[in-house]
């Protein structure tokens, strides 16, 4: 079963066409790595999949629910507000710059949506939070505030926040780009562990070695199109453009 289906996605910002007909399928338990040069449309694709940007044309469904589709007559229509909220409850997104809520403790960052969106009891939310923090090696930081944490710790909290709702799929938008190499390896380790647990994930990254190791499928994007995809495109690229890009690493 496909957890994420994107078909013929088109997206423009004013006159600039950023996505020129992208097809992407992610199966349950699959880890998909998206690589490619900056400005190639990777982040925009992720933002379209996570409702942060609206597409101009195409179909997206997440966990079997249709988020948006373009009818035969060419009309692109998003689902109603209520279904949209439901779909948002089915996935998580980890941002490049964390976007934690600075005025909330680590615990509240993780439990706030559980309590006020998913209507769980405080006890239940707290126990989910404790389990996640323990898993991520942060059990002593529940009462700390984001400003007192290192970048790596903040990103762990943001991963915990995304995992708390038990999502069907987790998106990562360059999760280590704001971190130094030492902290990066810690976050990559967390993502590897999630992959071992068969968490369905889509990861936009510039960490080629990591992408090659962890991804079941790699997608190379440039100029708003998918140039090449497959398991081995890093070790064995077929297209000239892919080779050219990888030569830089």
């Amino acid at each position: 079963m496909n957890v994420l289906e994107m078909k013929n996605i088109h997206k423009s910002f004013d006159d600039l066409e950023v996505l020129k007909g992208i097809d992407l399928e992610v199966k349950k338990g699959e880890v998909v790595g998206i690589i490619g040069p900056s400005g190639g449309g990777k982040s925009t694709l992720l933002r379209c999949a996570t409702t942060l940007e609206r597409i101009d044309k195409g179909n997206i469904s997440i966990a079997g629910e249709t988020l948006v589709k373009t009818s035969n007559s060419g009309l692109t229509q998003y689902t109603d507000k209520k279904t949209m909220q439901q779909i948002r409850g089915r996935f998580g997104l980890v941002f490049q710059n964390f976007n934690l809520f600075p005025h909330f403790s680590v615990r509240r960052n993780i439990t706030e949506a559980l309590i006020h969106v998913h209507k769980k009891s405080r006890e239940e939310a707290d126990s989910i939070c404790d389990d996640l923090l323990k898993k991520l090696g942060m059990e002593d930081k529940a009462d700390a505030y984001p400003c007192n944490l290192s970048g790596g710790q903040q990103q762990r909290v943001s991963i915990a926040r995304a995992l708390a709702v038990n999502p069907d799929i987790l998106f990562f938008d360059e999760p280590t780009s704001a971190l130094d190499p030492e902290l990066t390896s810690g976050i990559l380790k967390v993502i590897r562990e999630l992959a071992e647990e068969h968490m369905t994930m889509v990861i936009v990254t510039h960490e080629m070695v990591f992408a090659r190791d962890v991804a079941d499928k790699l997608v190379f994007m440039d100029g708003g199109v998918i140039v090449e995809q497959g398991k081995d495109i890093i070790s064995n690229p077929q297209k000239e453009r892919t080779r050219e890009f990888l030569a830089g690493y």
């Binding site: 996570t50 409702t51 942060l52 909220q85 948002r88 409850g89 996935f91 998580g92 997104l93 941002f95 710059n97 976007n99 934690l100 809520f101 600075p102 005025h103 706030e112 949506a113 006020h116 969106v117 998913h118 505030y145 984001p146 400003c147 926040r161 709702v165």
Partner: protein, 223 residues
């Protein structure tokens, strides 16, 4: 000595109006300022245009003139008798003072709030959206608490100015503290009442500084 005692007690009488103007203005102008700020940021060009003009007029003309307009406007423009406009125990001159002050201060607060709201990183909205918070939840749980911290120093400035501006109510013959001081000074042929009134204003603002500093400190646990 008797003079000072009676000066103090009469000024204290005026102080009731000063405090009344102060607290009622804050009570109305802060929520109104939030609404005005939202209107100013509205995508609807007509709404934001009207609000823009409103803010421009409120900031661009003297508060004293605005007070006079609110007070005399109903009679001269609409031929409404002022005594019909008393609200409960409050004379219309006091009501007009509160309306004038609230409209004026709402404009200033609105611009402060707008600055605070617009300084919030877009990532806070995006994270809230992804987590499934409604727009109301996002505003009241995520955005507003952080905006409060950001705008507090500027708000303190306005609040302190408001304490001193209450003396403008004298143009509507509201017997607040400054009016009382002026009357006493001319009756006693002495500057003493002015000095005492000055001390009152200064002490009030001292209290405000202490309170606002505490408020700022209580939010300093995060940055």
């Amino acid at each position: 000595m008797a003079d000072i005692a009676s000066t103090l007690s009469q000024l204290a009488g005026g102080l009731r109006f000063t405090l009344g103007i102060f607290f009622l203005t804050l009570l109305f102008s802060i929520p109104l300022g939030l609404l005005v700020a939202r209107g100013r940021m509205s995508k609807n060009k007509i709404v934001s245009g009207i609000i823009r003009v409103y803010i421009s007029i409120m900031r661009g003309t003297p508060l004293m003139l605005q007070l006079l307009l609110v007070y005399f406007g109903p009679y001269y423009i609409f031929a409404v008798k002022l005594s019909d406009l008393d609200v409960g125990p409050f004379k219309y001159r006091f009501v007009a003072t509160i309306i004038g002050f609230s409209l004026n201060y709402a404009a200033y607060f609105a611009e402060i709030f707008r600055g605070g709201i617009q300084s919030m990183p877009v990532g806070q909205y995006e994270a809230s959206q992804i987590l499934g918070f409604t727009r109301m939840q996002t505003y009241f749980r995520i955005i507003l608490p952080q905006v409060v911290k950001r705008v507090l120093p500027s708000v303190t400035n306005e609040v302190i100015t408001l304490v001193k501006d209450t003396s403008l109510a004298q143009v509507l013959a509201v017997t607040e503290m400054f009016t009382t001081a002026k009357n006493l000074a001319s009756a006693q042929v002495s500057v003493m009442p002015f000095i005492v009134a000055g001390v009152f204003y200064y002490v009030m603002n001292g209290v405000i500084e202490i309170v606002m500093n505490r408020a700022e400190k209580s939010m300093s646990y995060y940055s």
